[in-house]
Structure formats: C-alpha cells, structure tokens
Symmetry: C2
Subunit: 192 residues, 2 copies
C-alpha cells in the first residue's frame, strides 16, 4: 500500500456565524495546539490555518516562534515537532496552490457536514481511496457555525456526519478533526 498524502485546513474565513452571516472568526490558541498534535500523530503533511487578517497571523506566528525556536522548543520538543508542519495562509485558494506546488497535483477536497448530500462519501470508502496513495487529499474544517455553502458545494466529497450513538452531535472542531483522522488514517484496530 502506498503512503497516504493528506493535508488539512482549518478555515477562519468564509464562515457562518450563528445568524448565517458570513464572517471571519478569530484564531483560537487551542485549535493551533490540539490540531497540530493530532495532525502530527496521523502523519498529515501540512496543517493549514486559513486566516486573511495579517494581525491575527502575526499573533500566532509570535507564539509559534516560541515553540519552534524559542525556549519552548527546548522545554517541549514534541510541541516543536508538531508545529513544524503548521502553515499560516491567507485563503483556501492559496492552500490548493501550495498543495499543487508540493505534490504536482490538485488535491481532492473533502469537507464534513451534518446533512447528507449527493456527493457524500463513507469513511471506509474514503479511507480506501486515500490509502491508494495516488492523489493528495485535502480535508477542510470550519470554525464558528460552519463553512459557507459555496465552499461546501465546491468540494469533491462530503464526509458523512459522525454518529455518536444518539441525536446529539455537537463535537468541537478539535474533537471532530481527531476522530476523522483516526477513522481515515489510524491503524485498523477493529480487525485485531
């Protein structure tokens, strides 16, 4: 089996707020840390944080510097390693271009939603596809109240919702990323 090539992007724009207005959300410190660690654990090639505002990027870059080359790098080398694959970037278009530059191919884009669409794909099917290793895959995650309709419709696939065992489905994005990476890239623990 070839090596899967998976990229993830956390979108802070264009995002819906509670009232379905298109907004830019703030970068959350914990999203940076937790998702970088999950991404590193599951061998994601690059974790893109998509934010168009330079002041926000600067704030995060300052924090990253501490962990990448400041005292943080000495104090916690695991964190340093997790942050090596993190990249701040302006727009989703830039993400696609960057992946094309890195892999020579346009990535297959996948997003998640609580509803089912004509291009909905199951976890096992996507897992099999990814593990063929023929194409790069980009998983898109939203902040706030979710990624806007136009971006959702532009994705190649939409992943099934995560069913926990009841009606309640309000995982935070950090948990959703972990579970989705585990289902797509984790060891096949169910066959052991």
């Amino acid at each position: 089996m070839a090596k899967p090539r998976v990229f993830i992007a956390l979108l802070h724009y264009p995002i819906y707020n509670k009232h379905m207005e298109v907004v830019t959300t703030s970068i959350t410190n914990l999203d940076v840390h937790d998702i970088a660690r999950s991404a590193r654990t599951y061998n994601v090639e690059t974790y893109y944080i998509v934010h168009p505002v330079p002041a926000q990027q600067e704030l995060i870059n300052h924090m990253l510097e501490y962990w990448r080359s400041g005292y943080g790098a000495v104090y916690n080398p695991d964190r340093q390693e997790a942050f090596q694959r993190l990249q701040l970037i302006d727009t989703l278009e830039d993400v696609i271009q960057d992946i094309e530059k890195k892999t020579g191919q346009k990535p297959v884009t996948i997003t998640t939603d609580a509803r089912v669409y004509p291009n909905t794909i199951s976890y096992i099917k996507l897992r099999e596809e990814i593990h063929k290793g023929e194409k790069p895959y980009l998983l898109l995650f939203g902040t706030g109240y979710g990624i806007i309709k136009e971006v959702m419709e532009g994705a190649d696939y939409i992943l099934e919702p995560i069913y926990g065992g009841g009606e309640y489905n309000h995982l935070c994005v950090r948990s959703a990323v972990s579970i989705i990476l585990d289902r797509l890239l984790g060891e096949p623990w169910w066959g052991k």
Copy 2:
C-alpha cells in the same frame, strides 16, 4: 444488544509532572467544554472531573452555572445539555462510590498508557464487552504527565495506545478522549 453504560473521569490528582513528582494539576476550561461535548455525543452517563481543591471546583461551578442556568443556557442550549452530565468530585474513590450508587455495581475500570501491560485490552475486545451492557465501565484519563503508577496498576484493564501511523504519539487528552469514545461507542463505520 443492551445499552452500554460508560462513565469517564478526568483526574487532576494524583498526577505526575514532567519530573515524575506527584502533583495536582489545574482544571482547564477547554477540558471541561470539549470533553463534555464528546461525552454527550457518545452517550457517556457521567463525566467526572476529579479535583481535591475546593477553590478550583468553585471556579468551575461558577462557569457551569452560567451555561446550565444563566444566560449561556439560553444562548447555547447544546452546551447546557452537554454540561448536565458533568460532575465535579473530590477523589477517584468518590467516583467509584457514585457509580455504585447509580448502577448498583462496582465499575470495571480502564485506563490508557503508551506501554503494553499484562492486562492490556484491545479496542475491539473492550467494545464488545461494553456493548453487552452487563456492567458499568469507567474510563480514566490523566492530565499533566499522566496518572500515577499505583492507580494504573489498580485498573482492571489498560487500553492499547493509539497508533496514528508513526512514532509520534502526543495527542492532547481532549483528542485522546474523543478517539477512544469513538472507537468504543461510535457507529461501526468500518463495516459499511
């Protein structure tokens, strides 16, 4: 199949720090929120936060009041629902007693570790056991640098480490909880 009865506890004491000294760690706001949402999604009966210091409990109780009955409950009813099953408690012994009171049985205790032990259990085996619904199960999670040896050794089972696909394994506790709940209690997505 009977209904699984699963409880989780996040231990802030007794915990190791970086130097393997036994310490009490602080409660982190995000651990409260993220894990409560994951617990609710996977139908965990009670999410215990174990902390012996009243001042820390008071701080969190203040925050919980806002979400349970203050403006937060109106603004975000999903969060209110997630917090209904959260319980602050002094010690691990109190957790065990509380579960006995609620279920009439002593829970089977399970912890996680990066190493393999004589009582290590696989995810699929534990999943099958839990779904028999005959006994209550208590999953223990540590903060800081992990649960102390004595508690580890006292657990009925130790779950296998989560293998992401490489050597790096430094998930945050919030991610580890999500992934473990999904493996044990999520839908059998791999068979679809």
